[in-house]
């Protein structure tokens, strides 16, 4: 047992078994974790220690021992309900505060699109560059990953950053982080996705800003930026019905659409974010803009490649 314990300790390298903490958020998670570990160990020692102590101390001495008849004790019972309650609330609030940091996306974050598919990760950068398996980002810059899946649910996990988010087909989910140190970090898929689930690994390569910029420019496809891809698709498929200014054609004009409050024919409302724009292109009947016919736009489901779709969204976002 002791040898085992020693093995755990040596595994831990003083970080209580956690991987290196590569972001501020990860450090915050670790302090919460240390606190939890300490109170957990104290509780276990109290409960299990008490258990062993009583069990040994009050061993049966004679076959007809008499025992004390203690039915309850209000003060004691109040205390051992109230103290855990307070502790739980503290832990809850602490966890919530850090979670809020995890989910508050900085406005100036560098956006990278992530596509999960069996059994690989695809990364699409704003410059139009695409990579597989290895994600390269600059150090000290907030990065926002906008993620979706092509087939089943996956989950994007960077243990060193303590962040994880499911990657769901049919919708976008997001993660952000700001790496503090250059280096290579492990990426796992943590939602079971079939035969090669455990081989769906990736590497996060954190490099200096200059290195990142030369790396980005070095584009084997020598292609267009996402927004430029979008512009091209738009001029081919959408201009018959949509203007790039705010004038109505068959459908609404798009200037200023992004982040605008939309009013729908059925009385509901929503803010035009990435998910909304994606849905409007793939499932136009889901939310019909007020004042337009229900079948004014046909669905583009299956007619656009993922990067064309992403491009369209990026392009519409740029229209002011």
């Amino acid at each position: 047992m002791l040898a085992l314990f020693y093995a755990f300790i040596s595994q831990a390298h003083g970080r209580s078994f956690m991987p290196i903490a590569g972001t501020k958020v990860a450090q915050k998670v670790d302090s919460l974790y240390s606190f939890l570990l300490v109170i957990s160990v104290i509780s276990c020692v109290l409960v299990i220690g008490g258990l062993i102590y009583f069990a040994l101390k009050y061993r049966r001495k004679t076959a007809d021992d008499k025992t004390a008849y203690i039915s309850h004790n209000n003060t004691l019972e109040f205390l051992w309900s109230f103290i855990p309650f307070v502790l739980f609330i503290v832990v809850f609030a602490w966890g919530w505060l850090i979670y809020r940091d995890m989910r508050s996306f900085p406005d100036d974050a560098l956006e990278i699109h992530v596509l999960g598919k069996k059994w690989n990760w695809d990364y699409q950068y704003k410059s139009g560059k695409r990579t597989t398996a290895e994600l390269t980002v600059p150090v000290g810059v907030p990065v926002k990953l906008i993620m979706t899946s092509q087939d089943v649910i996956h989950s994007f996990f960077i243990p060193s950053f303590r962040i994880k988010q499911d990657v769901v087909p049919g919708r976008y989910t997001a993660l952000w982080f700001e790496a503090e140190k250059q280096g290579r970090y492990q990426i796992f898929c943590t939602e079971y996705c079939g035969d090669q689930h455990s081989a769906m690994l990736g590497t996060l390569n954190v490099v200096s800003l200059e290195e990142y910029e030369t790396w980005l420019g070095d584009n084997p496809y020598k292609g267009l930026s996402l927004a430029e891809v979008g512009q091209k698709v738009f001029s081919q498929k959408c201009t018959v019905c949509h203007n790039v200014n705010d004038q109505r054609k068959v459908g609404p004009g798009f200037a200023g659409l992004y982040q605008k409050q939309r009013q729908f024919a059925d009385g509901s409302q929503a803010v035009a974010d990435e998910n909304y724009i994606r849905d409007s292109i793939l499932m136009p009947q889901k939310q019909v803009v007020e004042g337009y016919p229900p079948n004014g736009m046909i669905s583009f489901q299956g007619q656009l490649a993922e990067n064309e779709l992403l491009g369209l969204i990026e392009y519409i976002k740029t229209l002011k």
Binding site: L4, A7, F8, Q11, A12, S16, F17, P19, K28, V29, L32, L36, S43, C44, V47, L51, F54, A55, Y58, R59, R60, D65, T67, A68, I70, S71, H72, N73, E77, W80, S81, P84, F88, I89, F92, W94, G95, W96, Y99, M102, K118, D151, I153, S155, F157, P159, R162, I163, K164, D166, V168, G170, R171, T173, F188, T190, G194, D195, H197, S198
Partner: protein, 532 residues
């Protein structure tokens, strides 16, 4: 009948003879024994899958199971068998069936025919599940997450889903039966607060079984319809929403966790009092905390989904509510420890399992609080930390209680005694092996190793080896336990009516009890743990 048994030796076991008399029996005790045999059989199967899994994971790279697909099937069958065929029916349907009417001073459950039907539901459901093996098995994991289970899983999945659907009815019928039995068949003088705490545990469980299981049934039916008929509920390609499935699934499967643990907690209350010969500390607190846990358990399902893409506000609310469930659970633990204070404690094998339960459950509990904490869970979710946590609760909790319960009620069930030495040995192996297997998994999880991995990175090798070694110890422990039970049944020494000197009603009738449980109408004049 030609057989003439002297009145004193006439009991439920020799009341009728032959296999047919068992298969058509309406006696709750016999149905309980049939559950015992089937659950033990399923446990053996699920255990073999577990050992295969651990053997595969003894080293990185392909091992005994060869490839990812075979591994995933073993993982799926291990989970589905252990959850739907062992842990859910284990305590209520097996121990509960045998003990509940005896505890209440009743002749049988309220609906004996329904009781038999629920056993057949379990059998038919299990059979349907195993049919999947003919159709290429299933590899979805016991959670059947969409859209994987709809588009990509192997073709036997529908059978597993339908099997679980049918087994759900077994659970619903048993729950219904127990609720009505508890309300209507208590012996004269048995007020609610004179009921043994095991009854409170079963009653709270029954409420969950009746209210939550239908949700699972509907969800599985929708899943089957989607897979067979292509109607879009959960698959985005058909216009469905995969996260909706998770909401439905956990709306049942979280309360189901309490179907597994609440009756176990009841068993522990019986064992602790009997073997410390002392009245329970805080009877009402324990009784009401069972009901409290049952009620709140319906509102915490979203803690399985913090990173699923559900709304962030939902995550916050679910985290808060989960913390609330922690309180009654902590109360119970403290009450049990307090019961030991100034008791007269003997370390008979059932008590060893009860103390083992407290030990493991405490660790399961504190790690549960870690997982309930939002920011912590983002890191731990779907890693081995979760695997370790729920094994500490389900195996360290429920299975320890089942083992303790079997040894405790064994003399009542069969009128014979098992070998105490062997029973203790099984405890030592199971308890030690358990910690060696699952404690390292907490560390693996903290280090980031994801669950449901057929293969893993080099850095995780050592701890995985330790874990695999532990699993073999558990295996040996359960084999010893099985031998102890079979040997005790065959040629154990004759047991007295009340070998433990316990106070609940079942110990006042003969061992084994007569067909109608009591040869007289029991009169209850005091609480269940009046050790004075």
């Amino acid at each position: 009948m030609a057989v003439t048994t002297p009145e004193s030796e006439h009991n439920y076991l020799n009341h009728e003879k032959g296999l047919w008399s068992w298969l058509t029996t309406l006696d709750h005790k016999r149905i309980g024994i049939m559950y015992m045999v089937s659950v033990m059989f399923f446990f053996l199967l699920g255990g073999i899958f577990a050992l295969l899994i651990r053997t595969e994971l003894a080293a990185p790279g392909p091992g005994i199971l060869g490839d990812g697909q075979t591994y995933n099937q073993a993982m799926t069958f291990h989970g589905a068998i252990m959850v739907f065929m062992v842990i859910i029916p284990g305590i209520p349907a097996f121990l509960g069936n045998f003990v509940l009417p005896l505890h209440l001073g009743a002749k049988d459950v309220a609906f004996p025919r329904l009781n038999l039907l629920s056993w057949y539901c379990l059998m038919v459901g299990a059979l349907i599940t195993f049919t999947s093996l003919i159709y290429n098995g299933s590899d979805t994991g016991w959670t059947f997450y969409t859209p994987y289970s709809i588009e990509h899983a192997s073709s036997g999945t529908v059978w597993v889903v339908l099997g679980a659907f049918v087994m759900g009815f077994s659970s619903i019928l048993t729950g219904l039966n127990f609720i009505v039995t508890t309300h209507t068949l208590r012996a004269p003088g048995m007020s609610f607060f004179r009921m043994p705490l095991f009854v409170w545990g079963l009653y709270s469980t029954a409420i969950i079984q009746v209210l939550a299981t239908p949700v699972l049934a509907i969800t599985l039916l929708l899943l089957a319809a989607e897979r067979l008929l292509g109607i879009g509920f959960f698959d985005p390609a058909l216009g469905g929403d995969p996260v909706l499935f998770q909401h439905f699934f956990w709306f049942y499967s979280h309360p189901a966790v309490y179907i597994m643990i609440l009756p176990a907690m009841g068993v522990i209350s019986e064992l602790i009092t009997a073997f410390s010969r002392k009245t329970i500390f805080g009877y009402r607190a324990i009784a009401f905390s069972s009901l409290g846990i049952a009620a709140v358990s319906f509102f915490v399902w979203g803690h399985h989904m913090y990173v699923s893409g559900q709304s962030e506000l939902a995550g916050v609310i679910f985290s808060f509510l989960t913390m609330l469930v922690g309180v009654p659970t902590a109360i119970k633990t403290f009450n049990w420890v307090a019961t030991l204070y100034k008791g007269s404690i003997v370390f008979q094998s059932p008590m060893l399992f009860a103390l083992g339960f407290l030990f493991l459950f405490t660790i399961g509990g504190v790690t549960g609080i870690m997982l309930a904490t939002l920011a912590m869970d983002v890191h731990f979710h779907d890693t081995y930390f979760v695997v370790a946590h729920f094994h500490y609760v389900m195996v360290g909790g429920t299975l320890m209680a089942i083992m303790g319960g079997i040894y405790y009620w064994f003399p009542k069930m069969f009128g014979k005694m098992y070998s105490e030495g062997m029973a203790r040995m099984s405890f030592v192996f199971i308890f030690t092996g358990f910690n060696v297997t699952f404690f390292p998994q907490f560390v693996l999880g903290a280090m980031g190793m994801p669950r449901r991995y057929f293969d893993y990175l080099e850095i995780y090798t050592h701890l995985n080896q330790v874990s695999t070694a532990g699993s073999y110890m558990i295996g040996i422990g359960f084999v010893i336990g099985l031998v102890t039970i079979i040997q005790g049944m065959m040629n154990g020494e004759k047991a007295s009516d009340n070998p433990w000197g316990a106070k609940t009603l079942e110990w006042q009738t003969a061992s084994p009890p007569p067909h109608e449980n009591f040869n007289y109408e029991p009169q209850v004049t005091a609480g269940p743990y009046e050790y004075r």
